[in-house]
Symmetry: C2
Amino acid sequence: MATKKVSATLKIPANVPSPEEDSEQLRKAFQGWGTNEGLIISILAHRNEEQRKLIRATYAAIHGEDLLKDLDKELSSDFERAVLLWTLDSAERDAFLVNEATKRLSSNNWVIMEIASTRSSIDLFNVKQAYQARFKRSIEEDVAYHTPGDIRKLLVPLVGTFRYEGDEVNTTLAKSEAKLLHEKIAEKAYNHDDLIRIVTTRSKAQLNATLNHYNNDFGNAIDKDLETNLDDEYLKLLKATIQCLTYPEKYFEELLRMAINKTGTDEWALTRVVTTRAEVDLQRIAEEYQRRNSIPLDRAIANDVSGDYKSMLLALLGHDD
Amino acid sequence: MATKKVSATLKIPANVPSPEEDSEQLRKAFQGWGTNEGLIISILAHRNEEQRKLIRATYAAIHGEDLLKDLDKELSSDFERAVLLWTLDSAERDAFLVNEATKRLSSNNWVIMEIASTRSSIDLFNVKQAYQARFKRSIEEDVAYHTPGDIRKLLVPLVGTFRYEGDEVNTTLAKSEAKLLHEKIAEKAYNHDDLIRIVTTRSKAQLNATLNHYNNDFGNAIDKDLETNLDDEYLKLLKATIQCLTYPEKYFEELLRMAINKTGTDEWALTRVVTTRAEVDLQRIAEEYQRRNSIPLDRAIANDVSGDYKSMLLALLGHDD
């Protein structure tokens, strides 16, 4: 197995077959009496974004069919969702997830927050373009239309801001905004305009400096001070936003822990984290998981799910088939 | 004079000199006892964005100096501002104008609103990138930090939204949002979340359909209903935002009329409109101006300003030198 991103778990074979070969093999996996799920996993779960894109284009050119539609026909339930999400490019996938999260029956403010807060600025911009191409509306109008009250007040600028990513920090500003945050939190004005402004518009480096001042100057980390009312959906989301912006591995570790420990497993969260992070930082998330739970992430997942779905997730976590 | 955008006023000679020749000529214009302003105008005011970019690059390569800095040294007052703004690319120019508008001494919410509302989505995105490259902060954080209260509530999503530009219209939605707008305006809840959401996030086509329903179903155009209190800065800005989004030529016509009719002329507004629209839609704006004021825009400007500044503006309006 060869080149991969430092923190990705995805494993790609040293000699990757041509997109034509992969397309032929996938077609074979769909033919005959049963579907060959193992073959599908052995191909798709070991190709990077660029390679999967080429396979989709080649498959359409050779077979005159959309690979995603064929996968949809052949597969089912959690395995299907994992394969489909994974096969999409990252921008299309995020656009799909956000759109789903704005619909009444699959409404999920956390997904919107997570995608807006953990993607790079240019990746988020690509999501916006993919969203418009697919849904013929802007991500901003759908998020604004489908979210209520304070949650909207937080999510709209979070999704809207093209955040600066340089590492310059204005220390004077960090001190004054730490003080401002502390005042608002002390007043329990968690939805205050300035608090939301700071969280949703400052660069991650600047926000980090501000939160360090907060911690140093007022004796508590901000997330402790926000833990006052854990039944408040807005407050939980605000706390998670800050975590996503400053310590995303920790956020994803907690999300996985809750998804796995739930009675019945939260497969949607599990699938989302594995498919969206396998090519990015799933290795770091797995390390965080091991540290906190004293069990490797892959083993925890293997204990909790089964079948082709399990094989797919473990393949994305870097297991050989 | 040859090719130009349908609605641009900029005139470019049929045979454009090479960037090397232009750079040499500009250098000559700066040398000797006086500056040759006429020569500067005859070159820069007759080159399009791409050509000016090449001239800047060539000038820097040949003379080891930044053309903008040399212009800054040689020119002064309104003429200088017009030449400098014009010489920048459109994205840099808008980034410069927004930044200036967020500063205390040159604070101007209208400039922010105008740029956020009248540029195409991708042009606004390019402004955001140019802003970050130059100022090492995001446009969103500066706008959010420097604007107060309801004005911030309007401007932040206006600047943030990557608006959809397709012409699909959802008629049911247009009807229901027209009703919602009418209710909020009847209640004088001009800063209501939903009113701001509709104005700042819907596509221009959708917003237009909504405002047509508003007009048909409730008997008044929305701008009439918003004219209740013309001393309210927020309300004036909201009304202008809607105009910029749905009828920008009219907005710019009014802006020019006020700039010209003022005792003492508002040169900043005049320069801004001419330099930012000359390559886009200044022709349409001039037609609007003529229709409303019964005097051609170029003549109105010529009556109101003088000297090199006048020559520069008229050149951008399409006069031969």
